[in-house]
Amino acid sequence: MKIIWIIARKELQSFFDSLIAYIILVLFLGFSGFFTWLYVSDIFLIKQATLRGFFNISYWTLFFFIPALTMRMIAEEKKTGTIELLLTKPITDRQLVLGKFLAAMILIVISLACTFPYVLTVSKLGNLDNGGTICGYLGLLLMSASYISLGLYASSLTGNQIIAFLITLFSGLFLHLLFDVFSQGLSGFLAEMFSYLSLQNHFESISRGVIDTKDLVYFGSLIFLGLFLTEISLSKRKTAG
C-alpha cells in the first residue's frame, strides 16, 4: 500500500510539474462552467435548481480529457526505458499499475472538487436535490475510473502516446455512445446485451439518483478488467520471445 502511494505521489507531482494537471483543470472547469452557466440549456434558461446539465457536460469533457491524461503514464516509461528501472526495484507490476491509477484518480477528484462551488451556488438559487447531486458525482467518478483503467491498458500496449490516446478514445467511444446506438437499432437479446454494455445507460441510471447493484457491478468489472489487463500486458515483457 505504501509503495502504491509513493508511486501515485510521484505521478501527481509530474502531472503538476509538467502543467498537464493545470491544463486539464482549466479546460475542464472552463468547458463545464461555460455550458452549465452560460450557454444553450444553461441553468438560468431551464430555471431549475439542478446540476443535470453540468453532469451531462462533464460526461463528455472527462471522456476526452482522461485519455490525454493516461496516454503517457505507461507509454512514456516504456519509451524512455524507465519502466525497467521501476520494475527492477522491489515493487510488483500490480503496485505500479495501482499507483498510476490512483494518481489519475486523485487528479479527477481534484477537478471534480473544484466544481463544488457550483453545488453551493445552485443550492442557494433553489432547492437542490442533494441525493441526485451526490449520485451524479458518484457516476462521474465511476465513469472516470473506468476510462482511466482503459487508458492505462492502452498506454501499456505501446510506447507511442498518440496511439495510446487514440486507442482509448476509440474503444471508449463504443462504451460511451455506440453500444447505446446499436441497442436502439436492434431488438431482442442483442439489444439487451448492447444496452447493458453501454456505459451511458449505467451512468444515466446512477446520475438519475438510483444506485443499482447492476450498475455498480458494471463499473466495478470494467475497472477491474482494465487494471487486470494492464498488469498482464506489463508482465508479458518477462516471457515475450
Partner: protein
C-alpha cells in the same frame, strides 16, 4: 551475496539470445561481462534483475531462487540499466528520494543516504538541477547513485562508463573497485581495457554462449598456446646465432625481429619453454643476452579469436 547462474537460456523468436549460460559470482568479486554488441550481455543482466524471466535455467542468489523469491531478492540488487534511463524532468534530489522510497528505506534514513550518494558520486554541484539539464557524465553518476542508494549487496551495472570522459571513467572505475571489495559486482562492457582495469574475473559472451571464464592472465595463457618472446643477443654474428637457435630442440620457430640489433623472435614448441636452453646456449658460446621480453597476446586478440567466427 553469491550469485549462481545455472543453464540460463532466453529465446527471442527462434534466436537464442542467451544460450545455456552457467557461472558463479561470489561476494567481493567484480566480474566483467565482455562481448560484442548483441551477444546477450544485457539480456543476461535483465534476467538476473528479474526484468525478464529465463525460458530455461535458474538464478540463485544466496541459494534462493529468483523465480520464487523475486520480491525479497530484488531488495539486494542495485541495477544500472543500459542507456541509463532517467526521469529527465525530475530534479536530482527528488529522483534519488523517489528511488530511496521505492527501495523501502526508512523515511528518517533517506536524507542521510541521499547525502552520502551525492558525495560518493560527486553530484554536489549539480544536485538541485533537473536531470535533463545534466551532461551525460553527470547523468551516469545519477544512475549509479540510484543503483547504490539502498546499499545493495549486489550491483549489476550495464555499461557503467559509456559516455564518460577519460577522467570520469577513471573515477568511476575507482569507485567500482572500492565498492567491489564488499559487494558482488557484475558489469558489462565492450571496452577491453576497462575489464582489465576493474574486474577480477572476465566472462566473455559471444552469440549467447559463454566462451571464456577466468582472470585476464588465465585467459591470456589459454589463448596464448605457444610461448613467444624476443631476445637480443650481442657479441656474435647474427646468422650464426640464428642457426644455433634454430637447432635447439625446444625452439620451434626463429625469426629476425631486428637483424642489425641482433634481435630475434622465438616461438617455443607447444607445451615447452625454450628460455633456459637459449640462456645456456648463450653462456656456452659466450654470447650476451641483453634483452628477453615475453610477447603477451593482448586481450583484444584473445577477444577477437574467441568471438569472431
Amino acid at each position: 551475496m553469491d550469485i549462481k547462474i545455472q543453464h540460463l537460456t532466453k529465446r527471442y523468436g527462434s534466436t537464442r539470445a542467451v544460450d545455456n549460460i552457467s557461472f558463479e559470482v561470489h561476494t567481493g568479486e567484480i566480474v566483467g561481462f565482455l562481448g560484442p554488441n548483441g551477444a546477450g550481455k544485457t539480456t543476461t543482466m535483465k534476467m538476473i534483475t528479474n526484468y525478464l524471466l529465463p525460458d530455461e535455467g535458474e538464478i540463485l542468489i544466496d541459494g534462493k531462487s529468483m523465480a520464487e523469491h523475486a520480491d525479497e531478492l530484488k531488495r539486494h540488487i542495485g541495477y544500472l540499466p543500459e542507456n541509463n534511463p532517467l526521469y529527465t524532468d525530475m530534479p536530482v534530489i527528488d529522483y534519488l528520494d523517489y528511488c530511496a522510497r521505492l527501495q523501502g528505506i526508512k523515511t528518517e534514513e533517506i536524507p542521510g543516504r541521499i547525502r552520502e550518494m551525492v558525495v560518493i558520486c560527486g553530484l554536489n554541484s549539480e544536485k538541485h538541477k533537473k536531470i535533463g539539464e545534466l551532461s551525460k557524465g553527470y547523468r551516469q553518476r545519477v544512475g549509479l547513485a540510484q543503483a547504490m542508494i539502498h546499499n545493495p549487496s549486489i550491483l549489476i551495472l550495464d555499461e557503467p562508463t559509456s559516455g564518460l570522459d577519460p577522467n570520469q571513467i577513471i573515477e568511476i572505475r575507482k569507485l567500482i573497485r572500492e565498492l567491489g571489495k564488499e559487494k558482488t559486482v557484475i558489469l558489462s562492457t565492450h571496452i577491453l581495457p576497462e575489464v582489465e582495469a576493474t574486474c577480477d574475473r572476465i566472462l566473455i559472451i559471444s552469440n549467447g554462449k559463454l566462451v571464456a571464464d577466468g582472470t585476464s592472465e588465465s585467459l591470456r595463457k589459454q589463448a596464448q598456446g605457444q610461448e613467444v618472446y624476443t631476445v637480443r643477443i650481442e657479441d656474435g654474428d647474427a646468422n650464426e646465432i640464428f642457426r644455433a637457435l634454430q637447432n635447439l630442440p625446444t625452439v620451434g620457430l626463429v625469426d629476425f625481429a631486428d637483424r642489425s640489433m641482433n634481435k630475434f623472435e622465438i616461438q617455443s614448441r607447444p607445451g615447452v619453454s625454450s628460455r633456459r636452453e637459449v640462456f645456456n646456449l648463450c653462456v656456452s658460446r659466450r654470447w650476451v643476452i641483453t634483452e628477453m621480453i615475453p610477447v603477451e597476446k593482448k586481450l583484444e586478440e584473445i577477444f577477437r579469436t574467441l568471438t569472431v567466427n
